[in-house]
Structures are given as structure tokens and as C-alpha cells.
Symmetry: C2
Subunit: 140 residues, 2 copies
């Protein structure tokens, strides 16, 4: 079997972009939250926060489709897009990166910062406490 080895640093061939851009992430949020949606709907939602041209949103979603971040149902006239990657997995990936670049990998610092400067309900604090208990068990 002969295999073609691409030595160049830029193998743009099939390397799938693994990280959504910020704009793409905004759209993914909406798809995760509302389920399968049309471009029209997504654009309306985005427009609540910032002025966004329809074709801009369309183009973004088409690109996301190419990248494999979303699937779409082309049966009807207006295509229906849905997220093709899981929310929690994506969050984890982004968190890992964020943790590294912003907190030098210290989850502790991030957590302290996240909890320290924010109002967190009693119930939420308890949930975290429970999590800590579980982790304490595993750590040994």
C-alpha cells in the first residue's frame, strides 16, 4: 500500500477545523437551545443582540455545514439546520483551551474567579459541594 505523506505544515486537505469560531459558536448556542432551526429563525435571534444581515448568517451556517458542525434537512424550501456536535463535548474542548490560554491550566484559579466575583445561589453552591465530595472520594 502506498501512502501519500504530506509533510507540509499546512495540510489543508482534509483536516477538519475542530474549533468553532466565535460567530459559529453563537449560532451553535441557538441550535442547542432551540433545536433544529431555519436560517431565518437563527438570524432573527441573532438580530436581537446585534444587527446581522440575513446572508451573513446564511453564509456562516453554510460554512458550518461544510465544516461538519451542523447538519441540515434540505427537504423543504428553507433548510432546517441542527447541531452536529454535542454541547457538552464542545464546551469541554473550549474550556480546555480557555483554561490553558487564560489561566495557565489552573482549574482552581478559574473556579475561584468564576465563583468569587459572582452571586451564586445556595442551591448551586450545594451542588458544587456535592461534586467536591464525589471528587474527594475518587482522588484517593
Amino acid at each position: 500500500m502506498i501512502r501519500k505523506i504530506n509533510c507540509s505544515r499546512n495540510m489543508a486537505e482534509k483536516t477538519p477545523p475542530n474549533k468553532p469560531t466565535e460567530s459559529e459558536l453563537e449560532i451553535l448556542q441557538l441550535l442547542w437551545e432551540h433545536g433544529p432551526s431555519t436560517v431565518r429563525f437563527v438570524n432573527d435571534e441573532l438580530s436581537k443582540n446585534k444587527e446581522t444581515g440575513y446572508t451573513t448568517t446564511l453564509k456562516l451556517m453554510q460554512i458550518m455545514h461544510e465544516k461538519g458542525f451542523v447538519e441540515r434537512d434540505e427537504a423543504g424550501r428553507s433548510h432546517v439546520y441542527k447541531a452536529a456536535i454535542e454541547e457538552s463535548a464542545t464546551q469541554k474542548q473550549l474550556l480546555d483551551r480557555f483554561l490553558e490560554t487564560t489561566f495557565r491550566g489552573s482549574a482552581l484559579k478559574l473556579v475561584m474567579q468564576a465563583l468569587g466575583n459572582r452571586k451564586t445561589s445556595e442551591q448551586e453552591l450545594n451542588e458544587i459541594r456535592n461534586l467536591l465530595d464525589k471528587l474527594k472520594g475518587n482522588a484517593k
Copy 2:
């Protein structure tokens, strides 16, 4: 008489504190960690992780200077740069943004995700526990 006023320096200082780009953040990390540093040092540090041209790093740091993210001492031949923005303040700003775009503002989800999928030392867990106790006190 109408006169064109050159206020480039002032404007650079007054422009709204934008958020650092990812590359800029990497450099800020190093400055926060090691204190005032030369371009050479920063570039050497960066090169440990990824191939980085010297002038690339230089240019980035010059841009950061224009943006007001760093100050520099031009006394010697090689300028000495130091961070002009605080680490914790920057982290908070970035965290707020990240929290919104990735976790829809839920600090709880972020914390759970951050602690759940990671090995955290006993000591760190205790620190968080202490923080929780303090917060519990305040919450009432």
C-alpha cells in the same frame, strides 16, 4: 484656522481597552509570570511551544504597546516590556465573555465542567471548599 491635530498617541491610550487576541494573551501570560522581559526572552519562551519568528514576536509586542496592553522601558538597547493591565482583571473580563458565549452565563455549569473532567488535587479541592464556606456565609 483649521488645523489637523495629531493625537495618535493619546488616542492609542484612550481607545477603549479591547480584549487581547489569543497571541497577545500568550505573551501577557509570560509577562505576568516572569515580570518585565525582553522580546528575546519572550520569543524564546514562545518557541518552546511552537515555532515563532523573532520579528513576529517583536511586531506583536509593538502592537500590544500601541494598544496599551504593555509598557516598555526603552533605556537600554533591547527594550524591556511589562504588562500594563492586571492579570486578574483581564482574566475576569475574558471569563465573563467566555461564560456568556460558551456556557450561556451559567457559572455553575462551567465550574462543574471544569472540576468534573479533570484531576484536581486534594489541596485544591479543599481551597474550593473553603471558598464555598465563605460564600455560604455571605449568601445568607
